[in-house]
């Protein structure tokens, strides 16, 4: 018999059979309660914050730096299965409304959105990170990608981007307000799955045939439809889906290319002085969005297998397997600027520096350009009509005018569509 029993690290569990003792490895204590972290400089007592430039916790007052030793999980970050319990709990922990937060440094009471998990006190400037109460440990963020793009770099990226389009107002190029970018850790879900699809469709094969009509031989194109079938197996790894609906999904999707090799274990220090939010789109809803993307990817892969691009009566059976998910925080800079009484949002990927955002459109400029494009055609057309009486010269001038008008119209339409798109985000 073993003398020291149970071995260290084991705890007793209830046994359902008399005469048998059962021990299990002591589980890592899931921290489901609210934790509050405050960040003070050990040298001067001032508030410290995470510096993307240094990659450390830095005191802006005395220059003290606390190096962070990131536990880099990267692609090995733990993933979880879709259990009915998790899906239910994820929906339960969806948070609405606001919460009151009492600053432990100065006692001031501030109200913050309930999804917010970090905060800087507007009265004393102290930085706080609070891990919310969660019904399940894996529904708290366990991994994040730290900011590596600095605020200064954001200004450098955004200024030329704002002036890069001739459709934006000229005054925008000189905007000197683009300095105050807010670093936010936004919640994202990542999904893995293997999709196994079996498809069938009628595929059209064109052929040319000759036929005799009205006393002459002619040719025509005939399509022969043949049934084809096939199967596709896709291994979809780390599909990123936004966990918040508070920002334009179109803008977020434009900067959602993150390299998940840089994922590190969650540590409150990375959030010091920055904003962070927990998810407001629950797992089940996000997974529905993710599955929609996976369906379309798999469908495209199926359609690539058809022998021609002419397809009809397409159907497929799709089986998802080995599905898993993880909940992560990703770094994004947010900036809102005003122009002509309207607010515009700019987002910058805090890892890669990719930029997306709204830019005002100078519609006066657009209409002027449109008028300029149409003017030659209209003018020559008019001239043609007037000179039509002069020995037929008007026909040639009118013809040129018509061609120029059509070209101007086409280019104008393209410009209008682009301008509308720019203005629509």
């Amino acid at each position: 018999m073993v003398e020291n029993f149970p071995p260290p690290g084991y705890i007793a569990v209830a046994s359902a059979v008399e005469g048998i003792e059962v021990f299990m490895p002591a589980p890592a204590k899931p921290n489901l309660q609210t934790d509050l972290f405050e960040f003070k400089c050990p040298q001067c007592g001032a508030t410290t914050a995470f510096s993307a430039e240094e990659g450390s916790l830095t005191c802006p007052n005395c220059g003290y730096q606390e190096q962070l030793n990131p536990s880099r999980s990267g692609k090995q970050a733990q993933e979880f299965e879709f259990t009915p319990v998790t899906l239910e709990r994820s929906a339960l922990s969806q948070v609405e409304g606001r919460q009151d937060l009492a600053c432990q440094a100065c006692g001031a009471l501030t109200s913050v959105p309930a999804t917010q998990i970090s905060h800087s006190c507007p009265f004393c400037g102290s930085n706080k990170v609070f891990q919310k109460e969660s019904p399940q440990d894996n529904l708290r963020p366990k991994y994040l990608i730290p900011f590596s793009v600095t605020q200064k770099t954001c200004a450098d990226i955004s200024r030329p981007w704002l002036g890069s389009s001739w459709m934006t107002p000229g005054a925008l190029k000189g905007k000197s307000l683009l300095t105050n970018f807010t670093g936010i850790y936004l919640p994202f879900w990542t999904f893995d799955s293997v999709t196994n699809a079996a498809w069938k469709a009628e595929v059209g094969h064109d052929r040319t045939e000759r036929y005799y009509q009205d006393g002459e031989w002619r040719t025509r194109t005939v399509t022969d439809w043949r049934w084809e079938s096939g199967s596709v197996r896709l291994n979809i790894d780390d599909l990123i889906v936004a966990g918040t609906g508070k920002l334009s999904s179109r803008l977020v999707s434009q900067i959602s290319e993150f390299d998940l090799k840089d994922l590190v274990d969650f540590e409150a220090k990375y959030l010091a002085g920055l904003q962070a939010h927990m998810y407001d789109i629950p797992l089940e809803m996000a997974w529905e969005n993710g599955r929609q993307k996976m369906r379309e990817k798999t469908k495209s892969a199926c359609l690539e297998q058809t022998s021609t691009s002419k397809v009809r009566n397409f159907s497929m059976d799709l089986d998802f397997s080995a599905e898993s998910w993880k909940y992560i925080l990703l770094p994004i800079y947010l900036h809102t600027y005003r122009h002509a009484e309207r607010s515009y949002t700019l987002l910058i990927n805090g890892q890669s520096g990719a930029i997306a955002g709204q830019r005002p459109v100078d519609w006066n400029k657009i209409w002027l350009v449109t008028a300029a494009l149409l003017a030659p055609g209209v003018t020559l057309g008019m001239l043609g009509i007037i000179t039509l009486a002069l020995a037929g010269i008007g026909v040639a001038i009118g013809g040129i005018g018509f061609v120029l008008f059509i070209i101007g119209l086409a280019v104008s339409l393209v410009i209008l569509v682009q301008a509308n798109k720019l203005d629509d985000i």
Partner: protein
């Protein structure tokens, strides 16, 4: 063996068959005329000190005979039927007449077990998956719940009393079970000398020392199941333990069989054994080549007679030509009958070849 243990041997004596080497406890004064196993020789009785036999332990439990006479007749009849040219002696009446009731032993071990154990136990849990179908421009999604097993490490200690662990007490145990099938233990009863000691009881030929490995394996399997239950798990794998077995107590469980025999062509007794509960029968079924050859010879003689007769008719046809047709028919019949004479021998050869010899 103490006095209490000896009391179970009341009214029994030991008989050994020198031909098949099977030993029996037989009712005193009722020694069977032939060995109840091989039926070749009478049993030789040995000295009075039965309790001193090395592999003998008291019987604790027994399974009663549960076979109705009608069922028995039906089973024996089915055994006899369908044998081409069966031996003269192989009849349902003979088999039933020669039936001997017999109890075969199994070791029963009671043992206290103390151990430390370690294993991976599995808990069932559900995961949500999806199966989608795309047709007519629309996706139809179906949620599917799959059951998976989550394996977790567990260890512990156990201190359990294991009663009535069974182990083979006969070298032939597994071949007997293979031939007759398992016995239903739910009707097990406490041993009563007044009921059992009027039958023949087979002596164990496998010592407790030899059977211990079976017992240990059975206790390990049972302990693994109990540890799984103790951990409130649904599955267990990789069970390892360091056991200590205390106070093992060996007794016997007796299970019922019936034996009989028939005599084949060569005059040998072919034993037949029956399950005492279900009536399943096991024994080598042999057809009689002697009878087949007799039948073949009869056919051949008949064929020769017809042939000679046909030859005479052929001679007569010289004066009466119409007889020639009769002669041709006669010769053809003789040839056919001659060829057919091979059928009985071939059928018996084929049947005996297709029968697996059953040894118990």
């Amino acid at each position: 063996m103490d006095t209490k243990a000896e009391s179970w041997l009341f009214n029994l004596q030991v008989g050994i068959c020198e031909n098949c080497d099977w030993g029996f406890l037989v009712p005193e004064g009722k020694i069977p005329g032939k060995c109840p196993h091989c039926f070749r020789q009478p049993l030789s009785t040995i000295g009075e000190n039965i309790a001193g036999l090395p592999n003998l332990r008291p019987a604790e439990l027994y399974l009663p005979f549960e076979l109705a006479d009608s069922k028995l007749s039906q089973v024996v009849k089915a055994f006899v039927d369908g044998i081409p040219f069966s031996p003269q002696d192989l009849s349902a009446r003979n088999l039933l007449k020669r039936l001997e009731r017999l109890y075969l032993p199994v070791w029963l071990v009671d043992c206290r077990t103390r151990a430390t154990w370690q294993a991976e136990v599995g808990f069932d849990y559900e995961v949500v998956s999806h199966q989608d179908h795309f047709m007519g421009g629309k996706w139809i999604s179906k949620q599917v719940n799959e059951v998976r097993i989550r394996w977790e490490s567990r260890l512990g200690r156990l201190d359990r009393q294991n009663n009535n662990i069974q182990a083979a007490a006969l070298e032939e145990h597994h071949s007997i079970i293979k031939a007759l099938g398992q016995f239903a233990w739910q009707n097990v009863q406490s041993y009563k000398p007044e009921i059992i000691n009027i039958e023949n009881i087979r002596l164990p030929n496998r010592s407790p020392e030899d059977a211990w490995s079976d017992v240990e394996a059975a206790i390990q399997t049972r302990s693994a199941e109990e540890c799984c239950k103790a951990a409130s798990a649904g599955h267990i794998r990789g069970f390892t333990w360091q056991p200590e077995f205390l106070e093992p107590n060996w007794t016997l469980l007796l299970f019922p069989v019936l034996s009989s025999y028939y005599i084949d062509d060569t005059g040998s007794e072919i034993p037949v054994i029956l399950h005492g509960q279900t009536g399943r029968i096991a024994g080598t079924r042999r057809a009689s080549m002697k009878r087949a050859k007799s039948a073949a010879l009869t056919f051949l003689l008949g064929s020769a007679g017809i042939f000679i007769l046909s030859l005479l008719v052929t001679v007569l046809s010289a004066t009466l030509p119409v007889l020639l047709a009769l002669a041709v028919i006669g010769i053809a019949m003789a040839l056919l009958l001659g060829l057919g004479s091979i059928i009985p021998v071939a059928a018996v050869w084929w049947f005996n070849r297709s029968q697996q010899p059953v040894r118990v």
